[in-house]
C-alpha cells in the first residue's frame, strides 16, 4: 500500500494533534479531577423520598468548606427547597429522578448532569460569582419539559 509523501505529513499532523487533544483532556480529567458528572450509586426509584439524602432534599453543610445539595427531579420540576449556597465553597450536587430521565443543568456553569431513575448523579462544583442562576432540564421528559426549571442563589 502506497502512502503519498504529503499524505504521510498530513496524517502524522492529524494523528499527533489528536494525541495532543486527548492528552490535554486526559491529564485534566484524571490528574486535576475535571471529570464530567456521573457516579456509580444506585437507588430504588420508587423509594426516593424515603432514602437519604433525598428524604431531606436541599442544602446541607458537610463541613466548613463543603456543602451537599440533594435534589429530586420529577416531571416537570425539581424538589429542592431553598437553594442558597455560598460562593467559593465546594458544592456537591446529588440528583436523582422519581420518574423519567431528566437533566439538572445550571446555566452559565459546567454543571450539566443527566438524571437517570435508579441512579444518583454526582457533580462537585465551586461557584465563583454570586448571583441567581437558572436551573433547567435539557433532556426531553414530556409535555412540560420546556417549563421545567428552578433557580439557585449564590451568596
Amino acid at each position: 500500500m502506497h502512502f503519498h509523501k504529503y499524505e504521510k505529513i498530513w496524517l502524522s499532523f492529524g494523528i499527533v494533534s489528536l494525541i495532543v487533544f486527548l492528552s490535554v483532556v486526559g491529564v485534566s480529567a484524571f490528574s486535576q479531577n475535571h471529570t464530567p458528572s456521573g457516579g456509580m450509586d444506585t437507588i430504588d426509584p420508587e423509594k426516593v423520598n424515603e432514602t437519604a439524602p433525598f428524604d431531606n432534599p436541599g442544602v446541607t453543610q458537610l463541613d466548613e468548606d463543603t456543602y451537599q445539595v440533594a435534589i429530586v427531579a420529577l416531571a416537570f420540576g425539581y424538589n429542592a427547597p431553598d437553594l442558597r449556597v455560598p460562593a467559593g465553597k465546594e458544592i456537591i450536587f446529588k440528583v436523582t429522578s422519581t420518574d423519567v430521565v431528566h437533566s439538572f443543568t445550571i446555566d452559565d456553569t459546567k454543571v450539566n448532569m443527566m438524571v437517570v431513575p435508579g441512579r444518583i448523579t454526582t457533580k462537585s462544583y465551586t461557584f465563583e460569582e454570586p448571583g441567581k442562576y437558572l436551573i433547567l432540564c435539557n433532556e426531553y421528559c414530556g409535555t412540560g419539559h420546556h417549563m421545567m426549571s428552578t433557580e439557585i442563589e449564590v451568596y
Binding site: 500500500m1 502506497h2 502512502f3 503519498h4 504529503y6 499524505e7 498530513w10 496524517l11 492529524g14 489528536l18 487533544f21 486527548l22 483532556v25 486526559g26 485534566s28 480529567a29 484524571f30 471529570t35 464530567p36 458528572s37 456521573g38 457516579g39 456509580m40 450509586d41 444506585t42 437507588i43 426509584p45 420508587e46 416531571a75 420518574d99 423519567v100 430521565v101 437533566s103 443543568t105 446555566d107 452559565d108 459546567k110 454543571v111 450539566n112 448532569m113 443527566m114 437517570v116 431513575p117 435508579g118 441512579r119 444518583i120 448523579t121 454526582t122 437558572l134 433547567l136 435539557n138 433532556e139 426531553y140 414530556g142 409535555t143 412540560g144 419539559h145 420546556h146 426549571s149 433557580e151
Partner: protein, 550 residues
C-alpha cells in the same frame, strides 16, 4: 443502464424517501415558528409530536430509503444484474421497512409515541411504535442480506479478484450496519417490547440507554459512509480522473468498521452508571475514528488538484478555478464537503470528555447534526438525486432543472448556515435543545440568550424558512425527473451513472478479507463494552415502571 427490475426497486425506495423528506421538512419549518412563539398549534397537535416526526422521518427514514436506492442501483451497475432471489428479497426488505415506517408514523400521529427518535425509557410509547421501529431494522437487514447475496454470487464467479470499489464500500457499510443494529435490536426486542406490552413490569434504564447508543453512534456512520462512497467513487468521474488511491479508500472504509462502533459512551459522558475509565476509553476510540475521515479529506483534495492541473490550472491554487463549478452534481457535493469541516471539528469538541458538559443537550448539538447529517450527508444525497432519478427513469435532466438544482443547493446552504450558526451560538450560551417555546418565566439568563445578533429567535426562523423553500424546490425536481420530464432519446440526452475507474493493481488482497475486520471489530466491542454492560446488569437498581408524560 441497469436492468428494469432493479430500476423499479430503486425508484420505489426513492419514492418513499422523498415522501418522508416532504413530511419531515414540513415538520421542521413548523418547529422554528413554534419555537419563536409565532405559531400556536391546535390542541390536538403537540410540539413534541412534530419533533418526533421530524427526527424519525428525516434522520431514519429518508436516509435509510435513499441509501438503499443508491446501493441497489450501484450494486447492479458495478456487479451486474440481480438474480431472482436477490430481487425478491430486495422487495421484501422494502415492504417490511415500509410497514414498520407506517406503523411508527401512525403511532406518532396518534399521539401514542411522543418519545422522540431516541425513545429513552422509562418514557413508554405504545408497544406498536417499538414494533414498527423493529420492523424498520429487520426490513433493512433483509435488503442488506439481498445485497450481500448478490456480492457473494459475484465473488464466486470471480474467484481471487477484488470486488469493484463501489461494491466493496457498500458491503463495508452493510457490515457496519448489521453489527451496529445488534444493540438496538437487543434493547427493543428484550427490553422495550415486553415492557411496553406489559409482559414485564420494569425496565433497566441505563442498560437500555447504553444499548441504544451502541447503535446510535454507528448509525451516523451508516448515513455518512454512503456519502463517502459518492465522494470516493462518483466525484472523480465528474472531475474526469481516476480514484486517487484504491487501497487507501478501502483502508479508510475498514477503519470505520473498527472504530465507529465501540464509541457510544461519548453520548453518555454526563450520566451516571458508567465509570470515568470506560467513558474515557471510548473517548480515545472515538478519536481513532477521526483518522479515516482525515484520509478521506486528503484523497478528496488530491483528486481536486490532480483534476484541476490536468485541465491546465497552474500555481498553488490555480487548479481550484478549473473545477467543474457549473456542474450541479459536483458543486452540491463540494458544498457538502465544505460543511463537514466545521461539522467534524464540532464533533471532536463534543467527544472531548469533560468539554462535553458545556454543550451536552444544548442547541449546539442540534446545530452540530444539521451541519453533519443535515448538510454533508443530505446535500450529497441531493447531488446524487439530480442524476440518480433521471438515470433510473430514463428521462432527461434539462438545463432548466440544472439551474433549479443550483437554486436549491444554494438556498439550502444559506438557510443551513443561518440556522446552524444561530443554534451553535445559542447552545454555547446555554439554551437547551428539544424544547418548545420557553422563556423560563422570563428569567434574565434565558432572555440574554436570544438577545444577540445571530443568537435570536429571528435568525433561526429565517434559516428554517429558507431551508423549507429549498426542500420544496427539491421536491419539484424529484417529481419532474420522476414523472414529467421528456424521455431521453439520443445518447447525449441520456443521464449516466458517473462511476469512476479505480486502479486496483496495487491493492492488497487482505483488505477484502472480511473475517479479519469483523474479528477485530468484535474484539474492540468486547473490550469497550463487556465489563461496563455486565456491571450495569449485575449491579442494576430496581427497574423503572413506564411513564406517559405527554
Amino acid at each position: 443502464m441497469i436492468a428494469q427490475p432493479e430500476r423499479k426497486i430503486a425508484l420505489w425506495h426513492l419514492g418513499v424517501a422523498y415522501t418522508a423528506f416532504l413530511i419531515g421538512t414540513l415538520m421542521g419549518v413548523l418547529q422554528v415558528f413554534i419555537r419563536n412563539d409565532a405559531l400556536q398549534l391546535p390542541a390536538w397537535l403537540d410540539y413534541y409530536q412534530i419533533l418526533t416526526a421530524h427526527g424519525v422521518l428525516l434522520a431514519l427514514i429518508y436516509t435509510t430509503f435513499f441509501i438503499f436506492a443508491f446501493f441497489i442501483t450501484g450494486m447492479s451497475k458495478s456487479l451486474g444484474s440481480f438474480g431472482p432471489k436477490v430481487r425478491l428479497f430486495s422487495w421484501i426488505g422494502l415492504w417490511v421497512t415500509l410497514l414498520g415506517t407506517v406503523m411508527a408514523t401512525v403511532m406518532i400521529i396518534a399521539g401514542e409515541a411522543s418519545v422522540l427518535y431516541t425513545f429513552y425509557a422509562p418514557l413508554k410509547a405504545n408497544g406498536f411504535y417499538y414494533v414498527g421501529l423493529a420492523l424498520v431494522i429487520i426490513g433493512t437487514w433483509v435488503s442488506s442480506f439481498a445485497l450481500v447475496g448478490h456480492y457473494i454470487v459475484w465473488r464466486r464467479k470471480n474467484k481471487g479478484q477484488l470486488s469493484p470499489l463501489f461494491a466493496f464500500m457498500t458491503i463495508t457499510t452493510i457490515v457496519l450496519w448489521i453489527i451496529a443494529c445488534l444493540g438496538v435490536v437487543a434493547t427493543v426486542l428484550f427490553q422495550y417490547i415486553p415492557w411496553a406490552f406489559g409482559w414485564t413490569d420494569t425496565i433497566n434504564v441505563e442498560l437500555s440507554r447504553s444499548l441504544f447508543w451502541y447503535f446510535g453512534h454507528p448509525l451516523v456512520y451508516f448515513w455518512l459512509l454512503p456519502a463517502y462512497i459518492a465522494w470516493y467513487t462518483i466525484v472523480p468521474k465528474l472531475l474526469g480522473v481516476k480514484v486517487f488511491s484504491d487501497s487507501l479508500a478501502r483502508l479508510a472504509f475498514v477503519l470505520f468498521i473498527l472504530f465507529s462502533i465501540p464509541v457510544g459512551f461519548h453520548h453518555q459522558l454526563t450520566e451516571p452508571g458508567i465509570s470515568n475509565f470506560w467513558k474515557f476509553l471510548q473517548v480515545v476510540l472515538t478519536f481513532m475514528v477521526i483518522v479515516p475521515s482525515l484520509m478521506t479529506a486528503f484523497s478528496m483534495f488530491a483528486t481536486f488538484e490532480i483534476s484541476g492541473r490536468k485541465k491546465g490550472g497552474t500555481g498553488l491554487f490555480g487548479w481550484f478555478k478549473k473545477l467543474p463549478w457549473r456542474d450541479v452534481r459536483f458543486t452540491s457535493i463540494f458544498i457538502a464537503m465544505a460543511f463537514f469541516i466545521p461539522g467534524g471539528a464540532g464533533g471532536i469538541i463534543n467527544a472531548s470528555f469533560q468539554l462535553n458538559e458545556v454543550v451536552h443537550n444544548t442547541l449546539w448539538i442540534v446545530g452540530h447534526f444539521h451541519i453533519t447529517v443535515g448538510t454533508p450527508v443530505a446535500m450529497t444525497f441531493m447531488g446524487l438525486t439530480f442524476w440518480l432519478i433521471p438515470y433510473l427513469t430514463g428521462r432527461r435532466f434539462t438545463k432548466r432543472m440544472q439551474r433549479l438544482g443550483f437554486v436549491q443547493i444554494i438556498t439550502w446552504s444559506i438557510g443551513m448556515l443561518l440556522m446552524s450558526t444561530a443554534q451553535h451560538v445559542l447552545g454555547l450560551m446555554g439554551a437547551p435543545r428539544r424544547t418548545a417555546y420557553s422563556g423560563y418565566n422570563d428569567h434574565p439568563s434565558a432572555m440574554e440568550w436570544f438577545d444577540g445578533i445571530i443568537s435570536n429567535h429571528v435568525t433561526m426562523a429565517i434559516g428554517g424558512t429558507i431551508l423549507f423553500l429549498s426542500a420544496m424546490i427539491l421536491m419539484y425536481i424529484v417529481i419532474m425527473t420522476m414523472f414529467v420530464l421528456p424521455k431521453a432519446e439520443t445518447p447525449e440526452q441520456m443521464v449516466e451513472f458517473p462511476l469512476a475507474e479505480s486502479d486496483m493493481s496495487n491493492t492488497p488482497k487482505w483488505l477484502e478479507n472480511w473475517w479479519i475486520w469483523i474479528s477485530i471489530a468484535a474484539a474492540l466491542i468486547i473490550i469497550a463494552y463487556a465489563i461496563p454492560l455486565t456491571h450495569m446488569i449485575q449491579h442494576a437498581p430496581p427497574g423503572s415502571k413506564g411513564f406517559i408524560t405527554w
